[in-house]
């Protein structure tokens, strides 16, 4: 192995970059009052549900789902997320339950993202280990505010609403979950820290949970911010299709073919919808176009073409 000679500074920086990239339990930088955030912010509209034994997961979800516009109580949610054998709620169960209630589940990591979200009025569910690394006591709480001057976060946690905790203390327990946080949002609201791929993946989660209407809304929200996203447009068409709204599905796929004239998948899905709506001639044209455009999914396009040809009167 050839050794590359590097300055000391560069080596130190690389070491830091590697550690940051590995997402280890190196404690993060918490911003002081000079950053681009309001000095303090507190959300008044997040209801508080005190948890019963082990049920911090359901309580946190109930608080945030209710805040997002769908009134629920912890008892309703408990069955969906609580796993008695593990005395708690798995993160994946939290995400699944969020989706089944027609809300976008968007995970975030770290203080910067969390504070940015709270600053625009989004409560954040966080996971902390209140025990020891070899005897963890996992706990979900909801961040409803912060104060950069005092260096505190404000939590709805356990039996206490609006509990103020210093950053340094909060960091220790939150770091153990790798600074995991969850946003529970209506499909019309983008996270403050949303990135295209992450957000569309989150909406895809709704589609997979068969929440067609909220997925449609989510994809439209995505297209509002990222009008050139093929995935969002295809997701829109697919969700309309699954809902049985073929007219809207056709419109969505048509728009996709106009914006992405070299995308076989858009023509393929358009062909299928046209065929089902009875426009056989156009369906054939679209299916042929997909096959012509080729690509990694050309076998799917061929199948579509064959089916349409077979169904031709």
């Amino acid at each position: 192995m050839r050794r590359i000679g590097l300055g000391m500074l560069a080596q130190v920086l690389i070491a830091n970059l590697m550690l940051a990239g590995c997402g280890g339990t190196l404690s993060k930088q918490w911003p002081g009052p000079t950053e681009h955030l309001p000095i303090r912010h507190e959300l008044e509209s997040v209801p508080f549900y005190p948890q019963e034994a082990y049920q911090c997961g359901p309580a946190s979800l109930a608080m945030t789902i209710t805040w997002s516009g769908i009134p629920v109580n912890p008892e309703t949610i408990t069955q969906e997320v609580f796993t008695p054998s593990r005395k708690g709620s798995l993160q994946s169960a939290m995400i699944g339950a969020t989706r089944r209630h027609g809300r976008v589940a968007y995970t975030i990591r770290g203080p910067d993202a969390m504070l940015a979200e709270v600053a625009v009025g989004h409560p954040v569910i966080i996971l902390q280990n209140l025990g020891l690394s070899w005897y963890p006591v996992w706990h979900y709480a909801v961040v409803v505010g912060y104060d950069l001057h005092q260096g505190t976060v404000i939590l709805h946690s356990g039996l206490k609403s609006r509990k103020s905790i210093r950053f340094s203390i909060f960091d220790r327990t939150w770091a153990r979950s790798d600074y995991w946080g969850l946003l529970v949002l209506p499909p019309s609201h983008l996270p403050a820290t949303a990135t295209m791929h992450e957000y569309i993946s989150a909406v895809l989660g709704l589609e997979k949970a068969r929440q067609w209407r909220t997925a449609i809304e989510g994809y439209n929200t995505a297209l509002g911010r990222w009008p050139d996203s093929l995935s969002a447009r295809m997701g829109l068409g697919n969700s309309y299709y699954a809902l049985g709204d073929l007219e809207s599905a056709e419109a969505a796929f048509r728009k996709a073919t106009r914006r992405f004239p070299t995308e076989g998948s858009a023509f393929n899905n358009l062909a299928q919808v046209l065929w089902e709506r009875g426009s056989q001639h156009e369906a054939l044209e679209a299916a042929r176009r997909a096959v012509y455009l080729d690509g990694p999914l050309v076998e799917v396009y061929r199948r579509t073409l064959e089916e349409i040809q077979a169904g031709k009167p």
């Binding site: 590097l6 995935s231 393929n268």
Partner: protein, 137 residues
């Protein structure tokens, strides 16, 4: 869809509609529709490749590569040969590197370039620094 000619008699309209109804297939398997997840995966890996190519095309990156005795053309070829999963993972890693403009902006910029050069030398098998880079024999 051919529009029914203006002034068509009502009976032909009815006939057209009934023909459409009879020949309308019942909802066929979604297997012939390309699912959203597939589209997302394919677009993501393509975006990642474009992103990596953009970085490799940068003058400062190329200069740094040449200074380390690496042929930028060779580097690009190696990155091109990575699998979809690998390019996505690589692009994600690079995006995580802090390179924002702040007081340390200049230094971080240099660090980013050095990081990239080392990443590429790792891919080329010349160094063994990053555990997440799989070594190709």
């Amino acid at each position: 869809m051919k529009m029914i000619r203006q002034g068509a008699k009502p009976i032909s309209v009815l006939l057209t509609i009934s023909v459409l109804l009879i020949s309308m297939p019942h909802k066929s398997a979604l297997a012939v529709m390309v699912g959203t997840e597939t589209v997302l995966d394919v677009t993501r890996s393509q975006e990642a490749r474009d992103y990596l190519n953009q970085i490799l095309a940068r003058e400062d990156v190329q200069t740094a590569l040449v200074a380390e005795g690496i042929d930028p053309v060779e580097a690009k070829a190696r990155v091109d040969s990575l699998s979809d999963a690998e390019v996505v993972s690589l692009a994600d890693r690079i995006e995580q590197v802090p390179a924002g403009a702040d007081a340390l902006g200049i230094i971080l910029g240099t660090a980013l370039i050095v990081f990239l050069v080392l990443l590429i030398t790792d891919i080329l098998g010349l160094t063994d620094i990053f555990p997440f880079v799989k070594k190709h024999s």
